[in-house]
Symmetry: C3
Subunit: 331 residues, 3 copies
């Protein structure tokens, strides 16, 4: 908890409002409550600002008149947000063995695991060698965790789960703000990962935690090896993701989607229920139910070179043809 | 070992034949013997069924007349197969230290390794810190395993091998059957991984074990970092796979193939000996010896947008031109 | 240190020059000094040979007349180079606990870490569970290393760094030479990785060490999860690489580049400062400042099939049109 005056000082903001307001946490603008701080990046989100119930809002000067609550006025909102996240970040300090406050209801726990404060592990679980579980992680019943897995702070895992070797769950999302000098400032990710029931996660797959909200993997999902699930992604129930897929931040996949191996789904993309994406495709727009594909079929290298030349000349070819046809017609 | 009557009960099948037949294992239809159970997914594989030497076959009602042996009749064969695999699955229970039954003929074994039942390690090997090796793994001579590696049940590794940090070998393949309700049922993978001699495997690469048969990496192969080798893949001798390549299930690569970084090879694809695939290509069909490429060359984003528009209008452009040309000719 | 006569014997070369010359190390032809051995693959690099200050050069017979120094004449230069690298390779033998020669100035070191000879760790660092650090690694101040990380020999890491779980730094590059029989001979990588200050590295990312020179990650860089950085890559200051990116050997990225998720950058490619590459693009040529894209947009699978057919017929379509137009004009 910080008072608003101190927060203003941390991020070098001009405070307009109640200097002594207590801020307990950060939240998205649409969900922020009276004890929470939020941010509005620019005028596009003015309606979010006007309707906000937040205790305070980080914003630029031009939006001050539309602010219904306490304001922290800065030049670069996203940078100020990045900076303040670190004040609300939970440190991980437990490095050795099983912490006394952990509640473990299973016997098959490898001796050399590292299990931190307030971890809860249900019944009939197996925790493999060298697995590290940070504070606040909750694991249900019948969960098998293979060796060399890392589960970071406050991740919630349901029942009947297989987590393969080398998996990392709850890693920080890839969010960074640029300053005037062109340097990056890391956003501390304060959300968690919530994993439902009856799910399998393949080897060396990584699932990032959310920025303020949670990354979510719903019941029955299937994840293959070497998959990347970015911060704030939501995978719907029974959705299957094959190996080597990269899913960008805040992408939302519906139920029963099937994503083929090596596909890339851009950030902030929505896929409706029952969307099928062929492996190796790039998903660069929202998709409704259906089967989609997007890659260049393989061909002999010599043919490919010719095809690529014409591909990039298509614009000129069409222009040329239009002129030619016009001329001919004019004859 | 299970008797057929019990198996019928496990998968809710109608048994036609010898209720007391002993089934020792599962096998592919083409290889199954008298003490083995196999499955025929649909009528396309009728000839496999007719020629099968299996002790029993899981199949649908319509194929019963063509079954030369004991039959387990179900509605959804693949789902029934998925369910029965779990009864033949080998559990891994060794979690701490080196098991008394392991035979280790090398001195350079990190203290905190976890080495399970009946593991055999040859001469002059180095096993790095935090490496976990499950039961039944066999490792030859002159094998260097870097830290944080996981080698799962029954993997066989030859001589003169380097396994880089973070590698996972023998993880479960990504095979799942759908039920009527649209939920996935995991197939327990009962095959292994067999790795020949003189091979290097790059950091954080993952090699899945086979479904019933083995995933195979032949002598002299080279695998870079972050490669995915799915279940039942066969990599021929001296084949080299650069970083970030995703190879789908049951793909078979011949000898001396070279696959560039970031390429994706679809499931069930065959590449003949000496096939070269440029990095980042998508291999969506069988390839014979030659050099192949399949991706869109990079261009200015603004040019790319125009190119993509014309690409998706090609069909209409050709139609339009045909009409125009016809009209002109008609003049 | 080896004398030239012995080196000639190791690689089966004909020695022309000073048999007793002491060679301390290997080096690139442009940088090699009097106590160093280098190699010239073929005639294309003749000017490098003529200007070389190396103590000795591995080369083919036809280049002998242009050699200003001692020569080791072989049939296959790259193969001879691959073989000799192993004589200069540093073995890693420390497997357990913290070596007495390590200088650690931080308290938060997990008990089960493995820290080898002459490792230096600065102030205010945290080293997570199961982390393995090989000999000669130097780590600055304020470095957080999460669990299950592997940092290999002689890596240098600056201040204010976050290394996420499962990361591997300093793994061997993917360099192999073919012999007459078509078998690969691994090149031992003798360079290191040098990581500057104020950098974050995402989970399960891999950074290879250089062949003879160092792989470099400059100040302020941001790397997401599951990224592959090959040997000898240079990432400029404040360059950001999103998840699942594969960067080939010796690629050089300037300052403030932004590479979207799942992109592939081919080996030996240069990107100037401020180059932006959209996610999932393939970078197959040098790029100057600008925003670039290269992939096929997603479409309905049925439309994609039609588009691909026309794409590969473009050459014939243009030919056909030219003939038709010619004929029409001829009317």
């Amino acid at each position: 908890m910080y008072i608003l005056k101190d927060i203003a000082s941390f991020i070098d903001a001009k405070l307009v409002g109640d200097v002594s307001l207590k801020i307990n946490s950060l939240s998205d603008s649409s969900k922020a409550q009276k004890d929470q701080l939020t941010y509005i990046v620019d005028g596009k989100h003015k309606s979010d600002l006007i309707n906000s119930n937040a205790g305070a809002v980080i914003l630029t000067k031009d939006l001050l008149d539309d602010c219904p609550t306490n304001a922290l006025v800065v030049d670069n909102v996203y940078l100020a947000f990045a900076k303040i996240t670190h004040y609300f970040k939970q440190q991980s300090s437990h490095l050795n063995g099983i912490h006394a406050s952990a509640k473990i209801n299973s016997k098959n726990i490898a001796n050399n695991c590292t299990i931190a404060e307030k971890v809860i592990i249900g019944r009939n679980c197996t925790i493999g060698a060298n697995t590290a579980i940070e504070q606040g992680v909750t694991i249900g019943d019948n969960v098998i965790i293979q060796p060399n897995v890392t589960i970071l702070q406050n991740t919630t895992i349901g029942d009947n789960i297989i987590i393969s070797a080398g998996v990392v769950i709850g890693s920080e999302g890839f969010g960074n703000a640029l300053d005037k000098q062109g340097s990056w400032h890391t956003i501390a990710h304060l959300g968690s990962v919530v994993i439902g029931n009856n799910i399998t996660i393949g080897a060396n797959t990584v699932i990032d935690r959310g920025t303020l909200e949670n990354t979510q993997i719903h019941n029955g999902a299937r994840l293959d090896n070497l998959v990347h699930i970015a911060h704030n992604v939501i995978l719907g129930a029974d959705t299957a993701i094959a190996a080597g897929v990269t899913i960008g931040g805040s992408a939302i996949l519906g139920k029963r989607c099937k994503i083929g191996g090596g596909a890339v789904i851009a950030s902030h993309i929505n896929l409706e229920d029952d969307t099928i994406v062929t492996g190796s495709s790039t998903v660069d727009r929202h998709l409704s139910k259906g089967h989609y594909t997007g890659f260049t079929s393989i061909s002999l290298h010599s043919d490919w070179k010719i095809t690529q030349i014409w591909l990039f000349k298509l614009d000129k070819i069409v222009q040329y043809l239009n002129i030619k046809l016009k001329n001919l017609r004019g004859k």
